[in-house]
């Protein structure tokens, strides 16, 4: 099995058949259903989807930090030789912040206001008893400098409210990278920032990923950001991975009707003449109901009768690409659809 071995070597983290339910007063919400995708080593992977598609839930599931009313219904998350879904709390704690780290969405609320950055960073390094406090501080100062904070040796003793939004997010990145994690998760890292900051943060992440040889997962609904930053993309819709693969392949030749519709809605590609924002008609389905067939069928322009009754297969194409649609395989295979690539190449918006 040389191929499997290669796959294992290339893959840092492997999500397989992950399903998560939420218990709510309205009943069980099937928030994630049968999620499968690999995260390849030294790549930047984007998870993209509308709000409510479950992209953040995936991220918290990887960390074992789902909300209390969440229940993992099945699947596994392979990370090295461990399964993070079934790891003990102690094992998870050793992984979090040390091997897998997070950059949070809103730096204004995700950093504790009453502790200095120095204190917070020292706390993150608590698992290293052999390193002296002054050495830890030196590491923290160095990391703050690396993310572009001027006068890091002075700023380290300041509190979050002394920092501007962009600076806070830089500090957030510094905290996340402090331990030299193998995997960096970024949860909508630029949503809370203005546009100029956004570009800076994206370039910073790109540079640091190269410099530190890290693997990065970026969760975002911003297609421009994904196109500019990522190597691989995972497209999510209503709790399912609908398509995944190389960023250029997907942006140039999306396989799934939803991905194509999503790309058409990207404000960055809309021509100024019509001045009309295209939308995908319909709403995200109610996930408390029992689901049959393709999750996207009610909104899909290419929906066929089979789409409402049978769950489409995950169609693999090459090493990493996959898409979940009846058009791609089996009796409803449509070769014209597959080769069609009506969309112009993505223009990065950052």
């Amino acid at each position: 099995m040389p191929k499997d071995a290669q796959h294992a070597r290339e893959t840092l983290l492997d999500v397989r058949n992950l399903s998560v339910d939420f218990r709510t007063p309205r009943g069980r919400v099937k928030a994630l259903r049968d999620i499968t995708f690999p995260i390849r080593r030294n790549r930047i992977v984007g998870i993209v989807g509308e709000s409510g598609s479950g992209k953040s839930t995936v991220l918290w599931a990887l960390l074992g930090l789902l909300a209390k009313n969440a229940e993992v219904m099945g699947g596994e998350v392979r990370f090295g030789d461990r399964d993070l879904l079934h790891a003990s709390e102690t094992q998870l704690r050793a992984t979090r912040g040390e091997e897998i780290s997070v950059v949070f969405q809103d730096p204004m609320t995700s950093q504790i206001p009453v502790l200095t950055y120095g204190r917070q960073m020292l706390d993150i390094l608590y698992r290293r008893p052999d390193v002296s406090a002054s050495e830890k501080r030196r590491m923290a100062v160095e990391m703050l400098g690396k993310v572009g904070i001027p006068d890091p040796d002075k700023r380290i003793d300041q509190y979050p409210h002394h920092f501007s939004g962009g600076m806070r997010q830089r500090a957030g990145i510094a905290m996340a990278l402090l331990t030299g994690p193998k995997l960096l998760l970024a949860d909508e890292p630029t949503t809370a920032l203005d546009v100029t900051m956004e570009a800076q943060i994206i370039h910073l992440l790109q540079d640091l990923q190269k410099e530190l040889d890290a693997t990065v997962v970026v969760v975002s609904h911003n297609l421009g950001l994904i196109a500019e930053l990522c190597d691989d993309v995972v497209v999510m819709y209503a709790g399912e991975v609908i398509e995944a693969g190389d960023v250029r392949e997907i942006f140039h030749n999306a396989q799934h009707p939803y991905t194509r519709a999503l790309l058409e809605c990207d404000p960055a590609r809309i021509d100024d003449v019509s001045r009309k924002l295209p939308v995908i008609p319909g709403d995200i389905p109610d996930l408390t109901r029992a689901l049959s067939g393709c999750i996207y069928a009610p909104r899909c322009q290419r929906a066929m009768p089979v789409c409402r009754t049978e769950t489409p297969p995950d169609v693999r194409r090459g090493e990493m690409s996959q898409a979940r649609c009846h058009l791609l395989e089996g009796p409803h295979h449509d070769p014209v659809w597959m080769s069609a690539s009506r969309l112009p190449p993505a223009k990065p918006s950052g």
Binding site: L65, S110, V114, D123, Y126, H161
Partner: protein, 314 residues
């Protein structure tokens, strides 16, 4: 910071002055000779004359007030009507007993109430949360002076585990501590529930904050997350509450001192009221007020110390 402290101190001074003013004016609202009222019917002619002179009763009220304030600032609170000893000296003898009692009562209440509130917040709806909830309502509703009386009845009179009255032999720490147990228990009990409930409420709020999730995501130990992060923020409203509720603490201390015959400030005020020894009442009330203001001030400073945002906005 300095400006803030000055403002608070200025405000506190105003409050103290108001209290003294109220005490003074009460003396004049009541018909009759102020000296006789102040000293009571049992006072001798001589004492009345001396008091009139000492208090400058021939002067206008506002001057008397200023003179009293001026003297008080130099530590002179007048003379005891009966023994002629300086009021300041008498108060200094007694204040230690009160401070020890307040400290012990508040101390055990905090040591028990704050962790209970944290535990209840970390595991909402668990058995510890339910017990804490019932305990809180129960202890808050029970009047502290009744706790004193019943504690005296059960542990001192009936079971004879602990001494009933007094503050213990001077110089014998063990004896003094054993005399401290019951009153401290009585005044702290309702605070256990009060604190547990307050800490629980604000912890529940803070535990839902994004930065707590961040701390977890960085793999910090749960103990560090709860006590180093969440409690550090959640303690702020609790400190304000302790400062605000300190007046109630003084009230229950007065009761505890009377019931357990503990020679503190509260007992001193009560005895002086009964004996109509007005200079002592006045002085002791002033000191009690000052104590209360100091605690409120201290709680403000503590908040500033805990919260950099407050510290810098000062």
């Amino acid at each position: 910071m300095l400006y803030y402290l000055a403002k608070r101190l200025g405000l506190s001074t105003v409050v103290v002055c108001l209290v003294v003013l109220v005490l003074f004016s009460l003396l004049y609202f009541i018909p009759g000779d102020p000296a006789t009222i102040a000293l009571g019917p049992r006072a001798t002619e001589e004492a009345i004359a001396r008091y009139a002179e000492k208090m400058h009763l021939d002067e206008p009220v506002w001057r008397q007030f200023l003179i009293y304030i001026g003297n008080a600032l130099t530590g002179d609170l007048g003379l005891d009507v009966f023994s002629d000893r300086p009021v300041t000296a008498i108060i200094m003898e007694r204040i230690g007993f009160t401070l020890a009692l307040v400290g012990a009562g508040m101390g055990w209440a905090m040591l028990l109430g704050i962790p209970l509130g944290c535990l209840a917040a970390v595991k909402p709806n668990s058995w510890i949360d339910r017990i804490t909830g019932v305990l809180s309502v129960g202890t808050i509703a029970v009047p502290s002076f009744l706790v004193s009386i019943w504690a005296l009845l059960i542990f001192a009179v009936h079971l004879r585990w602990l001494p009933a009255i007094g503050a213990g032999e001077p110089g014998q720490l063990g004896d003094q501590l054993s005399h401290l147990v019951l009153p401290a228990f009585a005044i702290g009990l309702s605070w256990v529930g009060y604190l547990a409930r307050m800490v629980r409420a604000s912890m529940l709020e803070v535990m839902g904050e994004n930065y707590i999730r961040s701390a977890r995501a960085f793999g910090l130990h749960p103990r560090r997350v709860v006590f180093g992060y969440a409690l550090r923020v959640a303690i702020l409203p609790t400190i304000t509450l302790i400062g605000m509720g300190f007046g109630g603490m003084i009230s229950s201390t007065v009761f505890a001192e009377i019931i357990f015959a503990r020679p503190g400030i509260g007992k001193l005020i009560f005895d002086s009221v009964m004996a109509r020894n007005f200079p002592i009442v006045q002085g002791a009330v002033l000191v009690a007020t000052g104590l209360y203001i100091l605690v409120v001030l201290f709680s403000d400073i503590l908040i500033a110390w805990f919260d950099p945002r407050v510290r810098e906005s000062l």
